[in-house]
Symmetry: D2
Subunit: 147 residues, 4 copies
Amino acid sequence: MSLAMCKEELAEYLAVVFPQVKEDFAIDDLTEDSVTMRLLTADRHLRPGGTVSGPSMFALADVCVYAMVLARLGRMALAVTTSCSMDFMRKPEGQAQMIAKCRLLKLGRTLAVGDILMYSEGSDKPVARATMTYSVPPAGSAASVAG
Amino acid sequence: MSLAMCKEELAEYLAVVFPQVKEDFAIDDLTEDSVTMRLLTADRHLRPGGTVSGPSMFALADVCVYAMVLARLGRMALAVTTSCSMDFMRKPEGQAQMIAKCRLLKLGRTLAVGDILMYSEGSDKPVARATMTYSVPPAGSAASVAG
Amino acid sequence: MSLAMCKEELAEYLAVVFPQVKEDFAIDDLTEDSVTMRLLTADRHLRPGGTVSGPSMFALADVCVYAMVLARLGRMALAVTTSCSMDFMRKPEGQAQMIAKCRLLKLGRTLAVGDILMYSEGSDKPVARATMTYSVPPAGSAASVAG
Amino acid sequence: MSLAMCKEELAEYLAVVFPQVKEDFAIDDLTEDSVTMRLLTADRHLRPGGTVSGPSMFALADVCVYAMVLARLGRMALAVTTSCSMDFMRKPEGQAQMIAKCRLLKLGRTLAVGDILMYSEGSDKPVARATMTYSVPPAGSAASVAG
């Protein structure tokens, strides 16, 4: 098991296939089975009450597992989310960036599973957890070489 | 069991406490235990490939259960999502509006649960399903009278 | 879309590949995209307090989607559960049989998704909901002809 | 934050309020925010194919969070599961005991959330993951002093 892309290559590829990533997310750290990303919290990520919105946290969890799959399998833009579960446990701090720590639990022939804990930067109490399952295009398929 | 707000009152209250609703979502139908809402699909809701993004579908499912809770309990802006599960089953049509049909499965003293099927308008195959759980502030608490 | 097995053939096949089904579950109704099954509630299905246990409800939801996949695809014993989400909403009645109404939401090339509402017989308030995802062995694979 | 019961007291209390625990599960380790338990795998926990069944893994995940809540809050038999999500990632070994490592992510006034990774003993690849949410009876309520 090894990485197909380093952190810099991954950030560059994500910026190409998923342009909104560049403004919204940054990669802090990448290993063979984990990635740490952050939400560059801005007004557009907040909900009434001034906390980070659910859709923004969903997007952060989702991009982590997408990034992890790309980092391991290489340029495979068409991996798609098939399911997710999330628990929202504490109020996210609207003034802080949000840090997501993702572990890759499985990278199989057709499915990848990652779980994520999210924190408001500076706190060690998890704000939310998520599990995301991705469908991975079979090696050699048209989809797997797209992008 | 009865509604605390009709469809028009609900739309008006949502527009006040959750201003982005106005541009992104519309209420098609409301009963005592169901609501049908639509995503007014625009470029900002799409992801690479031109399909509706995961965060946009999350937001649509989430606003349905929020709307359902408000319609039943009245002006209680501080109900918050505590958990969700979603399955993404088909490619959503990026050119179509997305219709969400939500059933309220439970409205308890502290928790409300709704499930949602989402369709690209004009198709009867579900694109995604979701279940959202909300924490409802206890009647008479400060939170329950806020907003 | 059509059924590969009728209700009686399905019950017979389940009894062969999954012998505990015979004592624990019965099929009430089967259509091309739905199945209704019941838990033949006995003492071994109860938990402290005399209500139906979580694992028994999990098993009921799980067997519904398994049965649905078999009914559509034929004798394919090796379909396996890949994920589930459940919400427990009301106290199940320990004296009543439990009825599960399952809709098949997707039957794809590699994944099948079904959702389930469970009721204590005689009540119309759902006790629990579940979504189960199955991995379906590719047509023609060794797994797909086993059993 | 501290424990209301040590490992031995917890095992004893579980055996009283939840008698099947004694034969099916053992507590390996307990800290203020984690518990490790094992399934004492026997024939009754297996499914066709000789692997550990889904309901048995559900039961293992469920008892972990129940044990964790009791260990922290004391004798509160009536805490109940309100939701779960599970992902089944690898084939569990039917000959091995199953080890579950549970982290308590939140212990709030009304809800507790724990997540669990499960392994076949002797392997470091997770077989399954689960998140369980419990509803905790309010302090001082009849339910909280039952059992």
